[in-house]
Symmetry: C2
Subunit: 324 residues, 2 copies
């Protein structure tokens, strides 16, 4: 069987790890759609933390211990910023500022975020296409008793303290899907769409809320497979479990599956949650359990292979259904 | 006699050196008016090279070998910029980016350049007031056969190659003098205005061209003393001599004096040019010669003291004239 193309939806470090596993198997046949809902402006520059994490990870230059920044980061700029009276809240690294600088320069010159990001890929030797969710501004707002916050305010300034009551995705209904992303999702040989293990509320949902995105995923013909970010009632990283609790949901992989209901065909849960599989299947979603914790690069590749095999079996089942 | 206040007009490294000499003598009684005509935008950020050079110099953190940047500069950001496809023309340092970042953030938030600069002074413990020529945009354009160029384009991108036919000072006629600068120039105890040894065309002239500045200097009551940037027919640093030649002027300290005619009361030439003193005096300008090359901090202080003493003698002569 000929090998087709894969589209991954991802954000944050967990998402970047699985995307990296897929990239190591599929190379240039992978397109990764990255959340831009947590982008923010500072110093007049546009910061896209999820895009940069993905870029560093696929380029193999991410810090092993702090995957959101390049390895061996230095902080000379930050020390100088502080001595000039700048805030010490956001500990910005010297290397980490390069992409926001060039990105902002490009946007200032009227270039599209997608073009700029693909240029970064090319220069770093990343053959996969890293594609922003949209070239138009998209900003997730966390609704809290303190008002509507950006993820940056919530995470950096307020230490994830405020209780989260809900989310809104400013700009999503006007945001357009780029031609590059349309090409990836309309590809004749598309064999799977993979929703990587990322926070469902502020990492994946903003991508899905881009005008027409859910419909496009439904029509693309390839199975949509999600991988849980929740294991045994806890998030591996980040604030997903806390948010679930505050939103009144069970902190469980099942809540993630329900978040993706009518969008996904298959769901990968962790082996630790194997007993939850039947309950999720009752909603019409196919389920497998696997080792979803990615400690090593081999783990990334193994999980990616499991996901692609699962997509293949979902596709085969669909084909049999249509034949029969 | 009570010691009064001093205002210096300055830019670039030579200007910063004499300003530093004045600062070491007068401390908080000094205000330095710095050229902003060579400011430029890159990555959407506002770079003010002359302001930053002055800031680093007076704060005592300037590199001894590259006075336009902080000592022990590093280039992690620049290396990353290049690997992302950025230009390798402008070798921007990690520490050097801090001030432009904070400045741009402040301007973005609607603060005035003067407030931002005075904040930098306060945080770095600089008690003198470093004041931009104006809070409004001021941009020197070098008129060449290649068109009108910013100094940044001329210097960094074109290596000072194009012949300079003239200058224009975009924005100068609409630029306003800040309240802080008015306060400094209207100070009752102002005892001297010192034009530091900087390029007369793109460092000092833009300050003088700010709407109302020349009139204000004429009315401030204190003697205006300039120090030559040209010694023995050559500029110590920079492209002043080349520009003079291309503008059809003699490359001579006398041409600098003529540039400041009707603005200055006194002119300090280098001892090497002592034989030119009488020619300049013929234009009604008082002249002294001194050692103007500042190799050490002691040289800066010595020249500053010479200039202040000269200002005193110009003031005394004026007073005698008025009495007599």
């Amino acid at each position: 069987m000929a090998v087709g193309t894969v589209v991954a939806l991802a954000a944050q470090i967990g998402g970047a790890k699985l995307a990296d596993g897929l990239y190591r198997i599929r190379g240039a046949d992978l397109a990764v759609v990255v959340n831009t809902g947590d982008d923010y402006e500072q110093f007049g520059l546009t910061f896209s933390p999820d895009l940069d994490t993905m870029l560093y990870t696929l380029a193999g230059i991410a810090s092993p211990s702090a995957g959101w920044e390049p390895a061996e980061e230095t902080f000379a700029l930050f020390e100088m910023l502080k001595s000039l009276g700048g805030s010490d809240r956001l500990r910005i690294g010297d290397k980490s500022l390069a992409a926001p600088l060039l990105r902002s320069g490009g946007l200032y010159d009227g270039r599209r975020l997608t073009e700029i990001t693909l240029d970064f890929c090319r220069h770093l030797g990343v053959t996969a296409r890293i594609l922003p969710a949209s070239d138009d501004p998209l900003r997730t707002q966390l609704l809290t008793d303190d008002g509507a916050l950006s993820f940056q305010e919530y995470f950096v300034e307020l230490g994830c303290e405020p209780e989260v009551r809900g989310f809104q995705y400013a700009g999503a209904d006007q945001a357009r899907i780029s031609d590059e992303l349309l090409d990836a999702l309309y590809a004749k040989d598309l064999e799977a769409v993979v929703i990587c293990p990322s926070n469902p509320y502020h990492s994946i949902r903003p991508i899905l809320e881009v005008n027409g995105m859910k419909e496009l995923l439904g029509r693309c013909g390839a199975p949509v497979i999600a991988v849980t970010p929740i294991i045994g009632g806890n998030a591996l990283k980040g604030s997903a479990a806390k948010m679930m609790r505050e939103l009144g949901r069970d902190v469980s992989t099942r809540s993630v599956a329900m978040e993706y209901l009518r969008i996904i065909d298959g769901f990968v849960i962790d082996e630790a949650d194997a007993e939850l599989a039947d309950g999720i299947r009752a909603s019409g979603i196919q389920v497998i359990s696997a080792e979803t914790i990615m400690r090593t690069v081999d783990d990334r590749v193994a999980l990616a292979r499991t996901v692609l095999d699962f997509a293949q079996s979902v596709r085969d089942a669909k084909a049999r259904e249509e034949e029969g």
